[in-house]
């Protein structure tokens, strides 16, 4: 089962979507982008809620463009679930299911047995989304679309449901498109991630490819990588290019780039912080902590370099923060492993 999208475009007033080329196999594609970037438009076009200006959508060889939503065999789970408020959870699922056994089967898989007789208003946010998912899966769709199904839920429920979805998606042999603006959800659930920006696909790749080797500054920033430095390739060593950022000279493992100048991109989680030492080994820089932010599982530390006027952000685990007594004003040495420097050609 493959979803093939080619030359798909749609214009609403000022906003232009596409043209988009995309192929989704039996996998989960997380569609990640800021609000207003066209993520929902993509889903609406596939589901038949909006018709494209041009382009083709083929699912399992069938052309979907021109078909009404009811004839597409495309299941969609909406942000708030879109459960029918005048029906109980069971009636909602029964509305879509062919047989009563299917309802029981899905209720068991999604742990809904206890809430089947309740109306949507009496369900919690998480239960509502599980019922919505059961209802959509009851039709045995050829493709599954999800539009930010977790975004309105509290963090703990979001985390639990994310884990459940991960398991569930693995059991589905259909293309799954999961729209989200949350990078964590995208990396956790997506076999691949598509980054959407202003109606276009900016990058499509595995979570590690998108996170570690962003194709543009936008992708880097949107996936939580604030460390972007303009630099110049100055030397080619057997290990890779050396890049100069002002007075700072860094060794990379990048073999070649098409341009002289490039943006060096260093993911905060790849930066290693150490106690300040005398010697400056390769790819180490000393600096002062100018800002410390506790994000729960880890700290975001901003370090101002001594030699050049640059600030680097590092994600540091609490034990390291405690061991090195990292606080604002503390002195630190930062080591940037050569393999963690990614270059975006200018």
């Amino acid at each position: 089962m493959t979803l093939d999208i080619s030359g798909l475009s749609k214009t609403y007033g000022e906003f232009a979507f596409g043209p988009v080329e995309l192929t989704v196999g039996e996998e989960v594609l997380a569609v990640l982008g800021p609000s207003g970037s066209g993520k929902t438009t993509l889903l609406s076009l596939i589901a038949g809620i909006t018709s494209p200006d041009s382009g083709a959508i083929r699912l399992h060889g069938r052309d979907l463009v021109g078909r009404p939503p009811e004839a597409r065999r495309v299941g969609i789970v909406f942000q708030e679930g879109a459960l029918f408020p005048h029906m109980t959870a069971r009636e909602n699922i029964e509305y879509a299911a062919e047989t009563a056994e299917r309802v029981e089967e899905l209720a068991a898989v999604l742990e809904l047995d206890d809430v089947l007789e309740r109306r949507p208003t009496a369900l919690s946010g998480g239960e509502r989304q599980r019922v919505a998912l059961a209802r959509t899966l009851a039709t045995e769709p050829d493709a599954l679309l999800l539009d930010e199904p977790l975004s309105s839920l509290d963090a703990p429920i979001q985390k639990r449901l994310r884990e459940e979805l991960h398991g569930l998606f693995a059991s589905l042999a259909i293309p799954v498109l999961y729209v989200t603006h949350d990078q964590r959800t995208a990396t956790a659930l997506g076999d691949r991630i598509a980054i959407v920006r202003d109606g276009d696909l900016e990058q499509v790749g595995t979570p590690s490819a998108v996170l570690d080797r962003p194709a543009s500054r936008f992708v880097a920033r949107f996936t939580g990588n604030e460390n972007l430095f303009e630099g110049r390739a100055v030397d080619r060593t057997p290990d890779g290019l050396r890049i100069e950022i002002d007075d700072l000279d860094l060794q990379t493992t990048v073999t070649d780039i098409p341009t002289q100048t490039a943006t060096a991109c260093i993911h905060p989680s790849r930066v290693i912080v150490e106690a300040p030492g005398d010697s400056e080994a390769e790819n180490t820089v000393t600096g002062t902590v100018v800002h410390r932010l506790n994000e729960g599982g880890e700290y975001q530390i901003d370090i101002q370099f001594d030699r050049v006027d640059r600030t680097l952000t590092a994600s540091v685990r609490p034990p390291t923060v405690e061991r090195l007594s990292i606080e604002t004003g503390a002195r630190l040495r930062v080591r940037i492993p050569p393999e963690s420097i990614h270059l975006i050609p200018a």
Binding site: A47, G48, I49, P68, P69, E70, A71, R72, R73, V74, G75, I76, F78, E80, A82, F84, P85, H86, Y95, A96, R135, T136, A138, T139
Partner: protein, 269 residues
């Protein structure tokens, strides 16, 4: 602190704005309620009950109820699809069509009657044709129904339109993505959810049809409906003899109001 100063200056006058609204509004409320009370007090209950069995009154009540019921059914039958179309179509066309729907609401009823007579009157082609097959469209129950439907059906369309609009379109898309046709979706999702609003429109249309006087007078003076009967009684025998039917109509109006505020969703709430 600007807000504090404002508050103290308001209390200094001694009358705050809420009290003013209450007093002014109260005058109007009294103006609504007092005539109802005086109407009910003006005739002894026994007289009213006695006059209720007067064949003329009974016949007027029957005509009104029958004609208003038929008008309401017609208004619903043709009004609901139009309301759905208006609620689910974007662009300029629905705006123009809505204006046409609202026209009978703003048109003086007697003018509605004249307009209708140009189409179904005895001299018109349609009126003549209908008359020749024994179904006269004026001075007949059909005439009453035509006049009432013209004046009352916009209530169904306008109220049901907003009821349909209040149903989230996402629910319809959800239903259709589950493989259900537009019709199945409308029947199982949109109609039940818009139900109370539609019922409100139907109730308003029925109440309007029951009270229709101007257009009915012009198109079908006979058979007499209750409002026409009130006028005839008032003109020939004086105010007193118009009371029983008037009280009957007040009762029907109150029942309509009860329906609006209980099972239906009051569109003005």
């Amino acid at each position: 602190m600007a807000t504090k100063t404002d508050r103290s200056s308001a209390t200094a006058i001694g009358l705050d704005w809420m009290s003013v609204t209450l007093v002014l509004g109260g005058v109007l409320l009294l103006y609504y309620v007092a005539p109802m009370v005086t109407l009910l007090l003006s005739v002894p209950t026994s007289d009213v009950v006695a006059q209720m069995s007067d064949p003329v009154v009974v016949s007027a009540a029957q005509t009104s109820l029958l004609a208003a019921s038929i008008s309401t059914v017609l208004a619903t039958l043709f009004g609901l699809p139009l309301a759905y179309w208006l609620a689910r179509t974007d662009g300029f066309a629905p705006k123009v069509i809505l204006a046409v729907v609202v026209l009978p609401l703003v048109l003086p009823p007697t003018v509605s009657g004249i307009v209708l007579l140009t189409v179904v009157g005895p001299g018109s082609p349609i009126g003549t044709a209908a008359g020749s097959v024994g179904l006269p469209l004026t001075r007949s129950l059909a005439g009453v129904v035509l006049a009432q439907t013209f004046v009352a059906s916009p209530f169904v369309v306008v109220t049901a339109k907003s009821a349909f609009e209040s149903v989230d379109r996402t629910l319809e898309y959800a239903s259709r993505s589950l493989g259900k046709s537009r019709w199945t979706t409308a029947r199982n999702v949109t109609l039940p959810l818009a139900g109370p609003g539609i019922l409100a429109g139907v109730t308003l249309a029925f109440a309007r049809a029951m009270g229709e006087f101007g257009a009915t007078m012009m198109v079908a003076y006979y058979p007499r409906t209750m409002p026409v009967q009130i006028w005839v009684a008032f003109k020939s025998l004086g105010l007193d003899s118009a009371y029983p039917v008037a009280i009957l109509l007040v009762v029907i109006s109150v029942v309509a109001l009860l329906v609006l505020n209980t099972v239906a969703s009051n569109p003005w709430e």
